[in-house]
């Protein structure tokens, strides 16, 4: 690929996505400013991100940037339009990227479930011991005695008496 994305960020005024990329053919590093048009605090960030990614003028440059990242950057832009500080917006994004432990994932459609799984997969990959890791052990056995003295998980309290 001729354009290799290096960094992607935002410019608040006018709302734009900024891309620093390397042009392999010309062997130089360039900055591209892509204004996000017709964007307001009511805009749908995932649609706006999709539009930008598929924009005929920008799409070859954005190949190395994931939809998730573009969406996040749009959330930041929208947060600013809503009058939030950067910290507030980042916190909100963080929240969107964590799993609500109370949510029943059985009830979600494929797309929403896939989103949750992706978030969980990040932790899985982080903690994962791979077969090729030098310290990989196939059979790891650890005993966790379940005696009655342990503190309850707190999930048994109500309504489980039928068992």
């Amino acid at each position: 690929m001729a354009f290799v994305a290096k960094k992607c960020g935002i410019q608040l005024q006018p709302p734009s996505i900024i891309l620093i990329y390397e042009d392999r053919l010309k062997n130089n590093v360039r900055k591209r400013i892509m204004p996000v048009r017709n964007f307001s605090k009511f805009s749908d960030c995932s649609r706006a991100a999709e539009q930008l990614k598929n924009n005929p003028r920008h799409k070859t440059y954005l190949e190395g940037i994931s939809m998730e990242q573009l969406q996040k950057l749009h959330w930041l832009l929208r947060g600013h339009l809503e009058g939030q500080s950067l910290t507030q917006s980042l916190e909100q994004i963080q929240l969107k990227e964590t799993i609500d432990p109370e949510e029943n994932l059985n009830k979600l459609d494929d797309k929403e479930l896939a989103k949750r799984k992706k978030i969980m997969d990040e932790l899985f990959e982080k903690n994962r011991k791979k077969k090729d890791d030098p310290d990989f052990v196939y059979n790891v056995e650890v005993e966790f005695p379940q005696d009655e003295e342990l503190e309850s998980c707190g999930w048994d309290a109500d309504s489980d008496d039928e068992f």
Binding site: I99, P101, L123, N127, R128, K131, N139, S152, C153, D160
Partner: protein, 226 residues
């Protein structure tokens, strides 16, 4: 009911008669969406797995050859491929199963609470087969291993703290489940299941369904496997 054979669709290997053969066992996985059932399978089998996707049945099959007491056992692990989202599984999923692995996510209470529903459904179809309870994702919060979970204890079921990510107790869990399945099969002790099967036959006869079909399709009585 409990008739998972795919009509004339020959390419799909869903012949459940084979589970009557002495060397074959069927182990099913139950549990909510995203508790890590497939990840556990993959961690146990590593590269040795070639899952078969049977999308018509929303089912993934993992085949594994194990050795129990010096004998080779061919294990089919059944994984739900998302059909758990319809809240109950097709009866053929339970049909002829010899053991069950029931999984929840230690990070999500709702998956623990739902164990009782899964267990209820399991017992409707397979009143006697061994069942183990698995608390997965302990790597995400090791403190959970210091807590008591009474679901398994109340029902007297084996309980495992595991992590599909770092591998803790995964191999132990599956080896135990295979041993339990083989032992269950050898003792052929599922009297209840036989009775239920009898009842099904009676019902089929009563309904007077297409008799010529029944010849091929109905669960035939068999002498107890040797």
């Amino acid at each position: 009911m409990a008739n998972g054979r795919p009509g004339g669709d020959a390419g799909l290997e869903l012949d459940q008669e084979k589970y009557d053969a002495a060397e074959n066992v069927k182990i099913i996985c139950l549990g909510d969406s995203a508790v890590g059932k497939s990840k556990l399978m993959e961690r146990f089998l590593l590269d040795g797995f070639q899952p078969q996707q049977l999308s018509t049945f929303a089912l993934t099959l993992y085949k594994h050859a194990a050795t129990v007491d010096g004998k080779t056992v061919l294990v089919d692990f059944w994984d739900t491929a998302g059909q758990e989202r319809f809240h109950s599984l097709h009866p053929s999923y339970y049909h002829k199963a010899h053991a069950c692995i029931m999984v929840f996510d230690v990070q999500r209470k709702v998956t623990y609470k739902n164990l009782s529903n899964w267990y209820k459904e399991l017992r409707e179809f397979r009143p006697e087969i061994p069942c183990v309870v698995v608390a997965n994702k302990i790597d995400a919060d090791m403190k959970m291993t210091q807590k008591s979970f009474s679901f398994a204890r109340k029902l007297n079921l084996p309980f495992y703290f595991v992590s599909a990510a770092d591998g803790t107790n995964v191999v132990k869990l599956f080896s135990d489940a295979i041993k339990l399945a083989v032992a269950y099969k050898q003792n052929a002790g599922d009297f209840m299941d036989e009775v239920l099967e009898e009842l099904e036959n009676v019902e089929l006869e009563k309904k007077g369904g297409d008799l010529s079909d029944k010849e091929e399709d109905g669960p035939e009585e068999k002498p107890p496997s040797t």
